[in-house]
């Protein structure tokens, strides 16, 4: 089964990393030559089965660490995306980790049309890197950015994590300053979460680390919302900041309920109001593709009301909120008819607000830090 439609966004997953970070529960394996080549073969099969009619407006290669592969291996998935599948001006992002980038790799990516890099920096504090279990150091992050600029990348995003055990407001302030000083166009700033099954969660359960309190996390969250916009990076989503015109198109598409294909291990697709997901198991992925040409193990079509709710809670994460006209165009439904009963009290108590003459609904300033509680009322 290959979902066919007018979707114009593509996600491709490369599930390999140099080592495992302490907070990580993503689908990723420590890189092994044999696995990688079998995986790339399977990925090629999956790509060949993909049926699409529109040219791609955005491509996102995520992981894992796509850049930890060798030049040859990178080339193998790059060729899939060369040439005529892309629309003109297609946003083409690759996730990269410091310590895995070389000039050769960067040039290869550039020539293949990659025009956006998302660099997993997380923090500029060595102590923080160690707690998070990152294998690179601050120097390598700086080098990676400098190199990327040299290779001609003019759209760079940095991933930052705040709220790790022991981090002070001062530490976080320094991280933000540094990120701004490096002049990147886009920043994703996430509060650390202790995902169940991650080493960090186990350390917390064992009492070996003391997480920040809710109040401390809140303070860091508030700092973030003040600092970046003041430096010209506007908050366009709860955790995402960008210079004007550099918002991540690929992610905007997720949040507005757009369609997309996901290829690779554990990748998700959204096509025609239906969601699909591939298996998270490498063996199964390879076998299924060889036998059936598809690795899809999950498929869900929500009943209309649930679908509208899901869309609403995702879309509201955008600072601009939901434009009713756009919502109507996408779903054919009236937001207020479907969810007015829940929305009205939230507006009355100041968690949601209207603008543009009641055409646009958004989370208020005070709702951002507690967005999950507010959105849980709507889901």
């Amino acid at each position: 089964m290959a979902p066919a439609s007018s979707s114009s966004a593509l996600y491709l997953h490369i599930p390999f990393c140099l080592s495992r970070c302490n907070y990580c529960t993503f689908t990723s394996y420590i890189q092994k030559q044999a696995d990688i080549s079998r995986y790339l073969d399977a990925l090629t099969i999956e790509f060949e089965h993909l049926v699409y009619s529109n040219k791609l407006e955005s491509i996102y290669i995520g992981g894992g660490t796509p850049t930890c592969l060798s030049l040859k291996e990178i080339e193998k998935w790059l060729v899939l995306l060369s040439g005529e599948c892309k629309a003109p001006g297609c946003e083409f992002t690759v996730e990269a980790n410091p310590g895995t980038l070389t000039m050769d790799k960067l040039m290869l990516l550039r020539t293949a049309g990659v025009n956006r890099l998302s660099i997993g920096c997380q923090t500029f504090c060595e102590k923080g890197l160690q707690i998070l279990g990152r294998t690179h150091n601050v120097r390598q992050t700086e080098d990676a950015i400098a190199m990327a600029r040299e290779a001609g990348f003019d759209n760079i995003s940095l991933d930052l994590i705040f709220g790790w055990p022991g981090q002070t407001p001062c530490d976080w302030g320094r991280d933000m300053e540094k990120a701004v000083a490096l002049g990147v166009e886009h920043i994703s700033a996430y509060c650390l979460s202790y995902e169940s099954g991650s080493p960090l969660e186990q350390l917390r359960e064992a009492g070996k680390i003391t997480p920040l309190t809710e109040d401390e996390e809140r303070d860091l969250f508030d700092m973030t919302g003040e600092f970046f916009p003041a430096a010209g990076l506007m908050r366009y989503e709860i955790s995402n900041f960008a210079r004007l015109g550099h918002e991540c198109r690929h992610n905007l598409n997720y949040w507005k309920g757009g369609e997309y294909f996901g290829l690779g291990l554990a990748a998700h697709s959204h096509v025609g109001q239906e969601r699909f997901a591939n298996t998270c198991d490498l063996e199964e992925y390879v076998n299924k593709l060889q036998l059936e040409g598809s690795a899809c193990v999950f498929r869900e079509k929500l009943p209309p009301e649930k679908y509208l709710r899901e869309l609403t809670v995702i879309w509201l994460r955008l600072a601009a909120g939901i434009n009713l006209r756009e919502f109507r165009a996408r779903t054919g439904a009236e937001l207020m008819k479907a969810l007015g009963q829940e929305i009205t009290p939230l507006v009355r108590t100041g968690w949601l607000a209207w603008s543009d003459n009641h055409e646009r609904l958004f989370l208020t300033e005070k709702a951002l830090p507690v967005a999950d509680s507010v959105l849980a009322e709507l889901v």
């Binding site: 993503f26 990748a267 998700h268 959204h270 969601r275 830090p369 999950d372 509680s373």
Partner: protein, 600 residues
């Protein structure tokens, strides 16, 4: 048919874990009633829960035919008794049907509080007591020391004590010999009109009520028309028999025998335990029954899902058929909806009933903090029993607010005397007596409000005496105390299910402790939640739950929107399972905060 003079009715009394059940099983083997092949551990505890917890709750009995070397056929009826302090009334019930008792004492432990309490019960019933020292096979056994304790305590002759190992069977033949020689045969009038004591009753879906009886005078046979004296109900005996140990039909039960009768009675109210069974037309005096069991502890049980109310009622009806010591009546609470106020003998009883309800009927329950029964003498002269704080009338109309007082007996090695004194005095205990049992251990007696010991005293006692302390209690009286009702308000709304009664002096302290506990149980909201404890119109403690400060998750990796939605849905689901007090969601666990806050 066994002759009346060859019948022996006896019970085994012991402190918990001293080996009562093991000895009972051993007797079944030794008399040949149960073969080695069929032997299953602890025959008499046949309820699943009882076996799991290793305690006997309901009285059971078994008839063991025994052929003696003197060529006589004997019938040894063992009436098993419950083994936990909460159930001491059941012990008394079983003793009423016996002429003798085996007092079992663990050779490694010696006499304990329950040994003492049960011995007094047996002496009150004028029973012949055979002291038995058990577990002599254990290397740590100190039979000599325990012997001294027993001689000291019972004032018996050392030679009267039988030494056994219930585990290996050593000494058991001597014990059987002693049962036959020392326990008197039943003395009832064989010719007289039928009088039988109903000492227990169980309910069976097919046969209806099955009454366990001890025939005191006369006899009863299949097809006889009988009458329950107190209820005044008559019925035909459709089936009767003995326990061996399963029910085994026979045609008659004669004077002194123990067995069961069935009469197609489907309503429980007619199965009155303690009542006297007699022939339909006979004019007889009722047997001295025993006091009806009194519910000592009450709590509210509510179905988690309100639509389960009727199912809960059915489940309670069913349980009550087999347990007359537990009571229930419908009540309603603003916070919890419709449920039942249930009465129990003690905390263990409450736990067991609750567990059984959840297990057997698959109903999720919300329990409110338990309380004891109070008596209130109104200024009008009316005396009312109060089973729930919600029923406490206005202070203005209360003349006396009385609480139950128990006689508490604690047995400890003497080095813990000071510990126990502090513990009991902290809990308003009034010291009565101190008695040495042997030269190392003491029996301390207190008069103490039941409310002070019912919930956690046992655990406290164990932890502060390195596990050596044992206890027993019995209800003495109701006594006027300076009690007050504390109301708990959440965001300004009084929550009926959280009210409690406590001594006025301690109202501030208890109030504060409960609020602190609630503060931990009630999740943060998007707004500040005020908690208050009040006595009448006076607020005695307050706390605030600060609003959420941060609750927002990171990005969706690889477009996994489903996961994000599920997280939010889970959050919403969690909220649904809570109760609403005004616009505050309160988790069900919070309703037990009153109980858990006792030591904070």
């Amino acid at each position: 048919m066994v002759k009346q003079e060859n019948i022996r009715n006896f019970s085994i009394i012991a402190h918990i874990d001293h080996g009562k059940s093991t000895l009972a099983d051993r007797l079944l083997l030794a008399t040949g009633l149960v073969s080695e092949r069929d032997f299953r551990d602890q025959f008499l505890d046949d309820m699943e829960l009882e076996r799991e917890r290793g305690i006997t709750i309901k009285a059971r009995s078994v008839a063991m035919p025994y052929k003696h070397t003197d060529k006589n056929e004997y019938l040894l009826n063992l009436i098993d008794t419950p083994g936990h302090v909460d159930f001491s009334y059941e012990v008394s019930r079983s003793l009423a049907a016996c002429e003798g008792s085996l007092l079992v004492v663990d050779a490694t432990q010696g006499i304990e509080a329950q040994t003492v309490a049960n011995s007094y019960l047996a002496l009150n019933h004028d029973l012949a007591i055979i002291p038995v020292v058990n577990k002599i096979d254990l290397p740590s056994a100190q039979p000599e020391g325990v012997k001294e304790e027993i001689v000291d305590f019972l004032g018996c002759h050392p030679d009267e004590i039988i030494f056994v190992s219930a585990k290996t069977g050593q000494g058991v033949p001597e014990l059987i010999e002693a049962i036959i020689k020392r326990i008197p045969a039943p003395s009832g009038k064989k010719e007289g009109p039928l009088r039988a004591l109903i000492f227990d009753s169980v309910y069976d879906d097919y046969r209806g009520v099955i009454s366990h009886i001890r025939v005191v005078d006369g006899e009863v046979g299949k097809g006889d028309m009988v009458r329950m004296l107190q209820v005044g109900r008559e019925y035909d005996v459709t089936e009767l028999g003995t326990f061996s140990p399963k029910m085994k039909q026979c045609n008659r039960l004669t004077t002194g025998q123990v067995g069961y009768v069935v009469g197609n009675i489907k309503e429980l109210s007619n199965a009155n335990i303690g009542d006297t069974l007699t022939a339909a037309k006979a004019q007889v005096e009722p047997l001295p029954g025993y006091v009806e069991p009194q519910s000592m502890v009450y709590c509210g049980l509510y179905p988690s899902a309100t639509e389960n109310f009727e199912n809960l009622r059915k489940a309670l009806d069913r349980l009550a058929l087999n347990d007359c010591s537990f009571t229930y009546e419908p009540e309603s609470s603003q916070a919890l909806g419709f449920g039942f106020r249930c009465g129990f003998l003690g905390m263990l009883h409450m736990d067991i009933i609750r567990e059984r309800l959840e297990r057997e009927s698959d109903i999720d329950l919300v329990t409110t903090a338990p309380n004891v029964t109070y008596e209130i003498l109104k200024t009008s002269g009316e005396l009312i029993k109060v089973h729930s704080p919600a029923d406490v009338p206005d202070r203005g109309v209360i003349e006396e607010f009385r609480e139950p007082i128990v006689k508490l007996q604690v047995m400890v090695p003497r080095e813990f005397i000071g510990t126990i004194m502090t513990l009991a005095e902290d809990r308003r205990g009034i010291y009565k007596t101190l008695e040495y049992i042997g030269s190392f251990r003491v029996l301390l007696s207190y008069e103490i409000p039941f409310a002070e010991i019912v919930f956690d005293f046992y655990d406290k006692l164990k932890s502060s005496t390195r596990g050596y302390g044992t206890m027993d209690y019995e209800l003495l009286c109701y006594r006027d105390s300076d009690l007050a009702k504390i109301d708990i308000l959440v965001a300004g709304v009084p929550v009926d299910a959280l009210s409690l009664i406590c001594v006025r002096d301690k109202a501030d302290k208890r109030g504060r402790a409960i609020l602190q506990k609630l503060r931990k149980e009630i999740p943060r909201h998007m707004f500040q939640v005020a908690l208050q404890a009040a006595v009448g119109a006076k607020v005695v403690a307050r706390e605030n739950i600060a609003p959420f400060r941060k609750n927002v998750t990171a990005k969706c990796y690889g477009g996994d929107i489903t996961r994000k939605r599920k997280l939010l849905e889970k959050q919403k689901e969690g909220k649904k399972r809570m109760r609403m007090v005004g616009n505050v969601t309160v988790p069900q666990k919070a309703f037990l905060a009153v109980l858990d806050s006792r030591d904070d």
